[in-house]
Each structure stands twice: as C-alpha cells, then as structure tokens.
C-alpha cells in the first residue's frame, strides 16, 4: 500500500503554515511508512501529487465555520461541498477526484482530510497563532493512529 501524507499551506502566510509544519513534524516519524510531502500548490497540481498512491492524508488550514482557531476537523472528500470552481486555480478536491475517476487515473481509494481552523490567513510574515500551534501534536498522533488502522485493515482484507 502506497501512502501519501500531504501537508498543504504557505509557511509565509501566518496560520496557513500549519499544514506544512505538521508535515515536517511527521517526516521522520513516518519514514518508510508513508511519503510525506509539503506543498503550497493548489488546484489541479494536487492531482499530480496524489496520482499513484493507494491512500492519502491531506492536511490544510480552513478559515470558514464558527469553530475556534485550532479546531481539528476530520473529513472525507464527500464532506466537502461539490462546487463549480470559478477559476482553475481553485479547483477543489471533490472536482479533482471526479476528474481522476472519470479518466480512470490511479487515484487513492482512501482519502482523509485534516482541516485545522485558522485565525489569520492573510498576513505575510504574521507568524502562526498559539491556538493553532497547539493542534500540531494532536494531528500528528491522530494521523499515526489512522495509518496504523488503515494498514491493519489492509492486512486483514488481504489475508
């Protein structure tokens, strides 16, 4: 099973760095277990990164909703609204998955998203806020558990 952990974000842009920081933290811990990739790309470029993997974990910041900063939400792609992107640069994950399925591309069967609520995503060099930093260890722990669970399930299925 090929697993990718994809940390999305922009480390220059305040709380948007969170996905990158978590990926960096996981880099050594998941050595040999999963490919841990940091990326600031968006839209269709994410398709290039995800192709060829069986399972994927995506970490990103969110600015929406009423939750306090640092709140972690686990989602599957179906939980994201299926939106028509008004620009290709903002092609959403659901759209990317649809494209991959439609074209018969080798896209992960399992996708789990960790969304971390941010407080500021618009200040360059603003630094990351304390509540958001607190989410790091929780997400790291949760991702390691999740990969173990997935791999255990895979082992049971294949036996």
């Amino acid at each position: 099973m090929r697993t990718i952990v994809l940390g999305l974000g922009n480390e220059l842009l305040s709380d948007d760095a969170i996905g990158i920081l978590i990926a960096r933290r996981l880099q050594s811990e998941l050595n040999g277990v999963a490919d841990v990739i940091e990326s600031g790309l968006s839209g269709l470029a994410l398709l290039d990164l995800l192709l060829g993997y069986d399972q994927a974990i995506i970490i990103d910041s969110v600015s929406t909703g009423m939750d306090p900063p640092g709140t972690i939400t686990e989602m599957e792609p179906e939980d994201l609204g299926h939106v028509i992107a008004p620009s290709p640069h903002y092609t959403g994950l659901p759209e990317i998955i649809s494209i991959a399925r439609e074209l018969g591309l080798e896209f992960p069967d399992r996708v789990r998203i960790f969304a971390i609520k941010a407080s500021d995503l618009e200040t360059i060099g603003g630094g990351i806020s304390a509540q958001v930093i607190l989410s790091i260890e929780k997400v790291v722990r949760r991702i390691k558990e999740l990969i173990q669970t997935w791999n255990l399930e895979n082992a049971i299925i294949s036996s």
């Binding site: 939400t73 620009s87 074209l103 200040t123």
Partner: protein
C-alpha cells in the same frame, strides 16, 4: 467519529471574490462592485532581507503563478546589480517561461474557459465544469491534457527545481544549465506542445466559432469596453512574455506610448476607492476619470487580449497566422470584446509552444556559461514580465549591502482591476432586470471577470480549495434583498 459538515465560505469571502450589486427602486442595477482581497504585510516582510532571497520569497506568496513571480523577481535582481546574464541563461529562462505559459494557458482553457464555451454559458450548472468539458471533447483528450501538463511541469522541475519553490534565477544568470541529454527531452516535448497548441485552437474553432450564439456573446455590448491596452513587446513590436518594452495602444489601436519597463512609475499611477483594497492602476498621462472608458479615461487592460492588441503581431509563424485570423474575424484592431480573451489565450499558447520549440533546438541552451557574477553595488531594480494574467512588475530598492529597503509589486490583476470592475458592473446591468437573479444570471456576470483569469492569489489554496463567489443584492437603502452563492 465521522461528522457531516458544511463549509460556509463567508469568512474567506470577505476577502475573496465578492460582488455587491446595488439595486434601485425598480430592481435594476444601480452599481455592481467586484472586490478582491488585500494581502497584508508583504512590504514589511521584505524589508531588511537580502535581495537575493526575493525570487524565493515572492514565488512563495502565491501558489498560482510562482514561476511568473520568480522570473520578474530574478529580472529585478539583474537590474538591481546592473548585470547582463549570458546568452544561455537568458534563453533558458525564456524557455522555462514559455513552458510555464503553455501549461498555465492550457489549464485555463480546459478548466475555466471550457465550462463557459465548450459546454456553454447557459448549460445546467452541474455540467459547467471540467467534467462537462471532458464529456463534450472526449475522455481521451482529457487524458492527453493531464499528460501534457504533467510532462511540461516535469521539464520545469528538471531545470528550475520544484515548481512552487523554484531555485533557478540568480542575479546575472541561473543556477543550473541544460545538458545535451536534457535538450533531447525538451525538443521532444516541444514538438508535442506545438501539436497540442494547434489542437486547442481547432477545438475553439469547431466548438466556439462555429456556434453563432457563442460568437454573438463574444461580440455583445454587455462584454465590451473601449480602453487602452498594455503589454510587453520585442524590438519589432511583437508579443513577448519574458522581455522587451512596455507598449500601450489607445482605444483606436494606435500607439500611445512605449517605454522601458524601469520607467513604469512615470506612466502608471494608482487610484484608491473606499470600497476596495485594490489600488486601481491607470495611465498617468491621461489621468483617473472614474470608471469610464474611451480615449479620455486612463483605464487600461492587460492579459492575452490586451497583449495581442498592444503588439503588431506574433514572432512565430503559426501563432502569427492565428493572430491575423483573430483580428480578421473580429473586425480589425483593436478588439474590445472581453470574452475574446479566451481565443487570444489560445493564440498565445501556440506562440509559447512554438517559442519553446525554437529555444529547445537552439544550440546556445547547452552552453555551460550560465552566470555572470555581479560586481556592482546594488541600489534599485525593476523587473517586468508578462504573467499569463498580464503585466507583472517587481520593484526593489536596497542599501549598499543589498538588503531590501523598499519592495513594491504591481500584479496583473491590479493592472486589470479597473476594467474588471467595469466589466462586472456592465454585465450585471445587462443581465439583471427587475430584481431577478438566478444561477444562470450569476454565471453570466461571472463570465465577465473570468475571461481575465483574475488571480487573487496567495491564500486561496486552503480548503475547500476554490475561490467561492458570493453575489449580494442590496436594495436602494442598503438592505440585503438576496444572495447567490457559489461554494
């Protein structure tokens, strides 16, 4: 453990892609405002940093066109240190930049213009997306688009490092050259890119130009503005993305001015409106006359249509043919129809592919002399390129140790902001009557700004991963009458 949640995009929308439409007593449009976000803190962040870091920093502030920022920034460093890169370095930079253009323009056509034109502006909402486009042009073509794109991005990575974190441009040159073996890959890919460019134009011809209704949309007054146009041109006044002089033509198509890019402050000024974070660029010599068009208004446009209007032609044969056909079909120069940007973009794609082929075959690109070490004391530098979305200007000042004391960027969408605002306003007036707004009408308003491929950059890759759009309809007293949301 799993909970069902809906992401409400309101917070992000405060800054990203918001249109406020104000209605009068009769329910007709009094004014429509299009707003884009402010990116805070860049100047402060840049201050005190070594100028050499700017190509890395600026390419990271935006996940949409890092290559364009990297290139503009690198050129600003050449100018800062007054150093002329060797021939091989310049050609490799332009080669990489041409590849970026092919890839970026193709993405736009299939994913953005496609839903409007290949599927159709009035098609049901559920079909106006890339899947609808693939349904119409065929899955094999979809696979081809994905494959070509991937191959081009791999080539950029080969020389420039990761697309998002390019480690490529240095003052006076580049960090890595091209080997003879690499060159073969570039040549092979460029052949494919040219074929792909011709193919895209053929689709446009078959699907759009042969459909009278689409052509009527392109030509309709709702999507037309007579403004000035700006773009980089080479010494023969032909379109160039990487280098040259900035040329401005008037609404009648004649040259208004042409200047070295370093002089931009003498020609371009910025106007501030209380309702927008964006500073609206206008031509200094004409002045700001409000959101009006015509010769007496300083508003100008950039991006594909503007570049074709601002030049006398294309520097490669197939693109030149397409260029002539474009103006013949649309009634001569200049073309003022905003939606013609989609066609212009494909002509540029073909040019970028042909230029990629020329440069790939050029023996100079494998010359190992790729850097001239700068030895002048830095003070001030300006770098300009054409980003896919229009003219992009980087301007830095430093102290004698090369630490940034001032950094200013004028991005494409800012150059275009005034005309985009007018386009949205005009489209809203054209399609909203008696307070009736639905999804189809919203799409017709969106089409007005989508043609420019505006980039609000920077923070927008966060989940849910797209720029949602909200249109708020306000009554004459400012009360909220209705709201239509995407996202």
């Amino acid at each position: 453990m799993k909970q069902k949640i809906t992401i409400d995009p309101i917070t992000r929308l405060e800054g990203h892609g918001k249109i406020d439409i104000i209605l009068d007593e009769q329910g007709n449009v009094e004014h429509a405002y299009f707003q884009v976000p402010e990116l805070r803190g860049f100047e402060k962040f840049a201050e005190g940093r070594p100028a050499e870091d700017m190509p890395q920093i600026t390419s990271r502030i935006c996940g949409v066109c890092p290559t364009a920022h990297h290139m503009a920034s690198t050129k600003a460093l050449d100018d800062l240190y007054k150093v002329e890169p060797p021939v091989a370095a310049k050609k490799i930079r332009e080669l990489i930049y041409s590849i970026f253009f092919v890839e970026d323009h193709a993405l736009h056509f299939f994913f953005l213009g496609g839903p409007d034109f290949v599927v159709g502006p009035t098609a049901p909402k559920g079909q106006r997306n890339i899947l609808g486009v693939l349904g119409k042009v065929g899955l094999e073509i979809g696979k081809e688009v994905i494959a070509v794109r991937r191959q081009l991005r791999e080539l950029i990575t080969l020389v420039g490092g990761k697309v998002i974190h390019p480690v490529f441009g240095l003052p006076g040159g580049i960090s890595k050259g091209i080997t003879e073996k690499d060159q073969e890959r570039f040549i092979a890919a460029s052949q494919k890119a040219v074929e792909f460019g011709r193919f895209c134009l053929k689709i446009f011809n078959d699907v759009v130009l042969k459909n009278k209704q689409y052509v009527d949309w392109i030509l309709s007054d709702t999507y037309t503005h007579k403004t000035y146009y700006m773009g980089l041109v080479d010494q023969n006044n032909r379109v160039n993305f990487y280098d040259g002089h900035l040329r401005v033509v008037g609404p009648d198509g004649s040259e208004f001015t042409k200047f070295p890019s370093g002089d931009y402050l003498k020609h371009v000024a910025e106007h501030v409106e209380p309702w927008s974070y964006v500073k609206f660029c206008y031509l200094k010599d004409i002045g700001w006359k409000g959101f009006t068009e015509g010769e007496s208004s300083g508003i100008y446009a950039v991006a594909p249509l503007a570049r074709l209007n601002a030049a006398d032609g294309m520097a490669t044969p197939l693109a030149q043919e397409a260029y002539e056909r474009f103006f013949d079909t649309l009634g001569g120069k200049p073309v003022h129809h905003t939606l013609a940007n989609h066609w212009a973009r494909l002509i540029e794609l073909l040019y970028a592919a042909e230029r990629m082929q020329e440069l790939s075959n050029d023996p100079d690109i494998i010359d190992p002399n790729i850097r001239k070490i700068p030895d002048n004391t830095p003070k001030e530098g300006v770098g300009v390129v054409e980003a896919p979305r229009g003219t992009l200007i980087h301007h830095y000042q430093t102290n004698e140790r090369g630490l940034i004391t001032m950094a200013n960027l004028i991005v494409a969408t800012q150059n275009n902001a005034a005309r985009i605002a007018m386009s949205v306003d005009k489209a809203a007036r054209g399609v909203i009557q008696n307070g009736r707004v639905d999804d189809g009408i919203l799409n017709l308003v969106e089409m007005a700004f989508r043609a420019y491929d505006p980039c609000h950059g920077c923070a927008t890759h966060a989940l849910p991963g797209q720029m949602p759009l909200i249109v708020r309809i306000l009554g004459p007293d400012g009360s909220l009458v209705g709201e239509v949301k995407r996202g």
